[in-house]
């Protein structure tokens, strides 16, 4: 009896459980995970300080012909990377805000008031399933008609709209998990539906909004197709387009490209670290609830 009430009972009998829950297994898992995540990134980092010939010569991780920092200088000299990073940041952040702004009330309405019945949710899911290539031509035409090609605003609108279904999909389960009485209480307390959404629902699903926002940001940050089709110049090119610009006449400038790619990761990563608590809270506290 006393043995059984220990906070962490010894695994009983089962080999699998003993392996699964052993601390050593976990440590090994962490090491494997960290190594496999980091390996390509580290390889990218060392590639950025290798001479071009060395990149072609050997797949060794560390540079063997000395450190060659010129890739970094060239990466910035040849492509207006900072401008692209700025564009990407503006587009990712603003389009995410836009997507959330539209998605939160819509999801609320769909979940709570069953607006649109069965049709609207499936339409939203369908929109999300649609490969972007399918609609790229009409989208381009419409953007052109609206006079929004080659503008950040156009790209923001498009990313925002394209990520809307994702946001709806992710926020849905968070709203579903809220007890409806809280909202009813707010109504009776004298709040309208909009005020209830603002004062009660949104604060309570903040983790969901944060994680949906982060996923929208990732999708926008990495988006290539529309960014390519809808932009012409440095005014609105985004970072992924910038990365594709280390193309020599015949072959890629791998070193410069690696330097550029890292430049893109570093600020984002700092921001992520910076908001770590927020993000992790967002991603882990609310969570996806079936």
């Amino acid at each position: 009896m006393s043995e059984q009430t220990l906070p962490n009972p010894m695994p009983q009998g089962n080999v699998v459980s003993r392996i699964m829950y052993s601390r050593y297994t976990r440590l090994i898992l962490i090491l494997v995970f960290a190594a496999s995540v980091l390996l390509p990134i580290v390889f990218m980092a060392t590639t950025s300080i290798k001479q071009p010939i060395e990149i072609r010569e050997s797949g060794a991780i560390l540079p063997t012909r000395g450190i060659f920092t010129e890739n970094w200088g060239r990466a910035f000299a040849n492509v207006p990377l900072v401008r692209y990073l700025f564009n990407s940041t503006v587009v990712a952040v603003t389009s995410t805000l836009l997507a959330l702004l539209i998605a939160v009330p819509a999801t609320y309405s769909i979940v709570r008031f069953r607006t649109g019945g069965m049709v609207l949710p499936s339409l939203i899911l369908g929109t999300y399933v649609m490969p972007p290539i399918v609609v790229s031509i009409p989208i381009f035409m419409m953007t052109r008609i609206a006079g929004l090609t080659d503008t950040l605003f156009g790209l923001i609108l498009l990313h925002g709209m394209a990520n809307l279904p994702v946001a709806v999909w992710l926020i849905d389960s968070y709203i579903r998990s809220l007890p409806v009485e809280l909202e009813q209480a707010a109504w009776v307390d004298g709040y309208g539906r909009f005020e209830t959404l603002l004062k009660v629902v949104i604060p309570l699903i903040r983790p969901g909004i944060v994680s949906a926002g982060m996923i929208c940001m990732i999708l926008s940050w990495n988006e290539f197709l529309f960014a390519l089709i809808l932009t012409y110049s440095d005014v609105s090119h985004t970072f992924p387009i910038g990365i594709s610009r280390y193309e020599g006449e015949h072959g890629l400038q791998f070193g410069e490209m690696a330097a550029a790619a890292l430049t893109g990761i570093i600020p984002i990563y700092l921001i992520v670290l910076f908001f770590q608590r927020y993000l992790v809270e967002g991603l882990t506290q609310g969570g996806v609830r079936g």
């Binding site: 010939i53 072609r56 193309e247 908001f275």
Partner: protein, 459 residues
């Protein structure tokens, strides 16, 4: 929370600042003109403050759509043009794989975002079909003598610019394939550079069988499934065996016995080539070649320069170049396939046609072509005179210049008809299938022929 927000704001502001530091667009030069100011009736102060002479296109601008690999040269051209004419040329760069779609989309949507377009010549027919390019036949005829268009390399002159007797551009960047060999490796095995594909195979096989364990291969073959690459490698052999994509009447002959022989040669050679041809594109081949692990490589003429650059290569000066080997059989031929090459044309929707044409004129001038062709990472000659120009010969080495000149005697181009975009996808797919053994050479080419006939409506 608030601290965090402040920090974020700082980060954002910093990025805005950094972004604004980044190359503000150069303002068009303001040129003061003569002004007469009268003061109080009597005294007349007259002052002239002309620092520079007014230029013909001051204050005007055009947009130039170019491909990423041409960034340096296109930007150079733009700045020289601005210096001379005062017109600003905005160079808009896209990855080379996307240039046709950008140009066509632009016209399809009626944007007219581009004035001058840098196009891959096999897409010329497609571009014309889609109404992208302006018919400049009259301009061409008018300027023919004055600008010395007869100096354009004859192999490029029509191929890059003409569809159905009309002109749509000027040759901008020429390039053809030649065979490079590593002098050291060939000497080590006692081989002379090959003149036929059979010799090529023998050399390749011998060296690979002996050297593969040390990572040395007799040849490198680009077989990556990209039309420019895979069809290029095929054409190198197809021409050598005397085959062609079409006969004189325009009927497809892609499954001719010569073509089958050529593809079989490619497949056989691939077995001994740098692994693994279906994954070998520019970079993979360069990796083998520039590190001295590949004895023979078919490549564009700029490889010589690259090989001599110690930052890029371990074998500076160890290379030699010969024309593409010949095939065997009755129709065996000597060829130099034009596996890349770009023209420069004016958009049908150009906002400023006059300046666009002036830019074309400028870009085709012999002195400018030489200047552009001697930039590092720039363009390859489009004019005969360039090949004789000392500056250019000095730039690429006289040996290479002569090899290029020689190659032009038997250069063959890609088709440029309106259906080529579709045809090349079919061919590309089938070549790749043959290369990995999903189809035999005969099957792959028969299938291609059948599909081509359907596409061309010739069944």
């Amino acid at each position: 929370m608030s601290k965090r927000n402040i920090l974020l704001a700082v980060v954002l502001i910093l990025s805005v600042l950094l972004a604004s530091c980044q190359a503000p667009p150069a303002e068009p030069q303001v040129v003061e003109v003569t002004r007469v100011v009268e003061v109080e009736g009597e005294t007349v102060i007259e002052y002239v403050e002309v620092e520079e002479e007014a230029k013909i296109y001051d204050g005007q601008s055009i947009n130039f759509l170019t491909i990423q690999p041409h960034t340096v040269s296109s930007k150079a051209l733009a700045s020289w043009f601005e210096e001379e004419t005062g017109a600003r040329v905005n160079v808009l760069v896209v990855p080379y794989g996307n240039v046709t779609e950008k140009a066509v989309l632009d016209v399809a949507a009626g944007s007219g975002e581009y004035d001058v377009i840098d196009y891959w010549y096999p897409m010329l027919g497609t571009m014309v079909e889609n109404g992208v390019l302006l018919d400049i036949s009259d301009w061409w005829d008018e300027n023919y003598d004055e600008l010395g268009f007869d100096d354009f390399l004859p192999t490029y002159e029509d191929l890059f610019t003409e569809i159905d007797g009309k002109r749509y551009g000027i040759p901008y960047d020429g390039d053809l394939h030649v065979l490079y060999y590593n002098k050291t490796i060939l000497a080590e095995y006692g081989f002379e550079p090959p003149t036929t594909w059979d010799e090529y195979l023998e050399i390749c096989q011998t060296i690979t069988e002996a050297g593969a364990a040390d990572g040395v291969y007799g040849c490198g073959i680009m077989g990556a499934k990209v039309p420019l690459i895979l069809i290029g490698s095929f054409l190198n052999r197809l021409g050598g065996y005397g085959g062609a994509f079409f006969d004189e009447t325009g009927y497809p002959t892609v499954n001719s016995p010569e073509a089958v022989l050529a593809l079989e040669a490619l497949i056989t050679q691939s077995e001994y080539a740098l692994p693994e041809p279906p994954a070998v594109a520019f970079d993979e081949l360069l990796g083998g070649w520039l590190t001295g692990n590949v004895a023979m490589a078919e490549f564009w003429t700029d490889l010589g320069q690259m090989t001599d650059n110690p930052e890029q290569s371990t074998i500076p000066g160890e290379w030699g170049v010969v024309a593409m080997p010949q095939g065997t059989g009755d129709n065996a031929n000597k060829v130099a396939p034009i596996n890349a090459g770009f023209g420069m044309g004016v958009s049908n929707l150009a906002q400023n046609q006059e300046v666009a044409l002036a830019f074309l004129e400028f870009a085709s001038r012999p002195d400018i072509v030489v200047k552009a062709n001697t930039l590092v990472g720039g363009l390859d000659p489009t004019r005969t005179s360039t090949l004789d120009d000392p500056a250019y010969r000095d730039h690429v080495s006289p040996e290479l210049a002569d090899a290029i000149k020689e190659a032009h005697n038997f250069a063959v181009g890609w088709p440029t008809n309106a259906n080529w975009a579709e045809l090349q996808e079919v061919l590309n797919e089938n070549l790749s299938l043959a290369l990995i053994g999903d189809k035999t050479a005969q099957e792959a080419l028969d299938d291609t022929q059948a599909q081509w006939l359907t596409i061309l409506g010739l069944e």
